[in-house]
Symmetry: C2
Subunit: 360 residues, 2 copies
């Protein structure tokens, strides 16, 4: 087995220890005589797997008791609709902060359901920063305030938790959930597609404060109603069982690693190594304001873009793959989620130094 | 490794050959240096996996060129909403045939979107048969006619393809898709949750005729619009990649087995063995009219229900599991999908004979 260092933005690298455990028990889970993929979601084996996954996530994120944890489907893109469907609560307006491509998608979808007030936008500087809250123009009548706390494409991460008073704060945390401790009580809803820092694609985690349940209009599709999903413990219908199982193993891996405080220390160190190399060198540039450089998604450009292809080709030959920037941005992007070993970042930094020395 | 015979209605048994292949390539797929779970859905490896899965499904089902194949999320329960959202086409009415618990759920959800005409119902005889089409009262102005071609809970299967003229026929085929050849051209839409006869839970296959695309009202959530999913080849956002990969392996397994005509022969033989034992014996009863007994889901009762627990316990000791009937029906249910080996049915029949002999 030769494993590469996979810098994909998502679906992304998973801990090799988790993959090896999945492999080991794939055909016969713990002597059950069947794969987790074959288990009835209402059988005692899978019910235990799901319960442990939720309990471990609650422990890792210290989720207060008045929040529900939902394991849903459809990704953040479906949440872009489910958030207004569930949270407008008869109001006609919501605040959105626009920090990049994913904010824009969330805004576009919300406009199908309500009047969107863009309280702040970083479009003026090509989405290279998070507008400080002092510049936000929040609408006191907004049903909620929506933020994208880490922009996967732009590599822009919030360096503060917004204060929205009594108006629920809703965060798309898809690409940095579990990368550091978060005070969940500051949010009304936190949601995340799994395929970056949680587990396989096809699972969406939604953490929602209980008082925000039960407000979807009566015509809302059953599957899109947070309250129905909460009342049925995410088993109104068959959930994505295998993805929940793998996510549960990732949660156990994170606990064994020391939890989110330790992950944050590691993630800071990994990010500093990569941004440090970029800063120390005229050959590479980061387009993002230093305070908002994401620890998870590190976009960078080469001073000589004509070398992009050579960079990607040589990187691949070194076992460093999926470094091409998003098609809407260009350049490079290294996604260094929890599962990216520090040795992977070290290998990338060493390669980048060498490449710059040879071509700089 | 000791494998059991798993008669779960879903998630259900998968072919052991498929599971073994998944296991073998789980950590490093075909020398890519990563798991399929870790692959970017837009990378060439996964694009190839998805394209092969679609091509193999098209070949197996002989899907005409004017049909799109969508790989979605949310299960049949989300289709219960997506069907009216996409197919009403400005009309206010739809026909539904009520053959059991899943029909009822589809009807309940459709009522959120339109006036539902229940064209026929088997509720008068406890959902033990399919009302013949001669008794249906179809509304010529209906936007579509919805049928549940195999009721997973009741074990009731259509023995005919309804003729709805120019009105699109829509089928929830979740629990018998791929069990036999079907003339797709007779349908407007066929949909199926994967977790019975296709692959892991978390994937939903939708086969839709092209002229039915593009009619969703403008306020429809983006993720729920068939046309947007079709235009983006099911990659508007990250699809459930691992489930698509496993489904693709199941499709290759079915092709290697001889395709759907051969599967039908095997499924008829398996079903006849089980129903034959039930019929030959006063100890067991099938609640379903003979013409509509499902080849996939075989509910049966014991003449002495006080023996139910002993039956389940002894069956489990023989490696025959998940035979308990659905909580809404009681009794027993053996789901014998494509992946259930004929030897599993033989073992169940032998056990049932022996149990009856000892307790009859």
């Amino acid at each position: 087995m030769t494993r590469v260092y996979n810098f994909s933005a998502g679906p992304a690298a998973l801990p090799v220890e988790v993959l090896q455990q999945v492999q080991q028990e794939l055909v016969d889970w713990h002597g059950a005589g069947m794969s987790v993929m074959e288990m009835s979601h209402r059988g005692k084996e899978f019910m235990q797997i799901a319960a442990e996954a939720e309990a471990d996530l609650r422990e890792l994120m210290q989720i207060p008791g008045n929040y529900k944890v939902l394991f849903l489907q459809g990704g953040a893109s479906l949440q872009f609709a489910m958030v207004p469907m569930n949270l407008l609560r008869g109001r006609g307006k919501a605040d959105y902060v626009n920090t990049g491509q994913w904010s824009k998608k969330a805004i576009g979808e919300a406009k199908k359901f309500c009047q969107v007030n863009v309280a702040a936008s970083a479009e003026d500087r090509n989405f290279s920063y998070v507008p400080p809250q002092s510049e936000w123009r929040l609408d006191p009548e907004a049903a909620y305030v929506h933020v994208t706390t880490n922009e996967t494409i732009g590599g822009v991460e919030y360096d503060f938790t917004p204060d929205t008073g009594d108006v629920p704060l809703v965060a798309d945390a898809s690409s940095h959930i579990l990368s550091k401790p978060v005070d969940v009580s500051r949010y009304g809803v936190i949601y995340a597609g799994a395929q970056k820092n949680i587990g396989p694609a096809g699972l969406t985690v939604v953490i929602v404060r209980e008082d925000l349940l039960g407000h979807a209009p009566s015509g809302t599709p059953t599957m899109l109603d947070y309250k129905i999903q909460a009342d049925n413990e995410s088993m109104y219908n068959t959930p994505p069982t295998f993805a929940i199982y793998v996510a549960g193993l990732v949660f156990k891996w994170l606990k064994a690693k020391g939890g989110l405080a330790e992950m944050e220390r590691i993630n800071i160190r990994k990010a500093q190594k990569l941004y440090g190399l970029i800063e120390s060198n005229d050959f590479y540039q980061s387009p993002v304001a230093p305070a908002n450089r994401s620890r998870m998604n590190v976009p960078f450009t080469l001073a000589r873009p004509e070398l992009d292809e050579a960079f990607l080709k040589e990187a691949k030959a070194h076992g460093l793959v999926q470094l091409k920037g998003h098609r809407s941005v260009g350049g490079m992007r290294a996604s260094i989620y929890n599962a990216m070993p520090e040795a992977g970042v070290d290998a990338l930094v060493a390669f980048m130094q060498d490449f710059a020395a040879r071509h700089g």
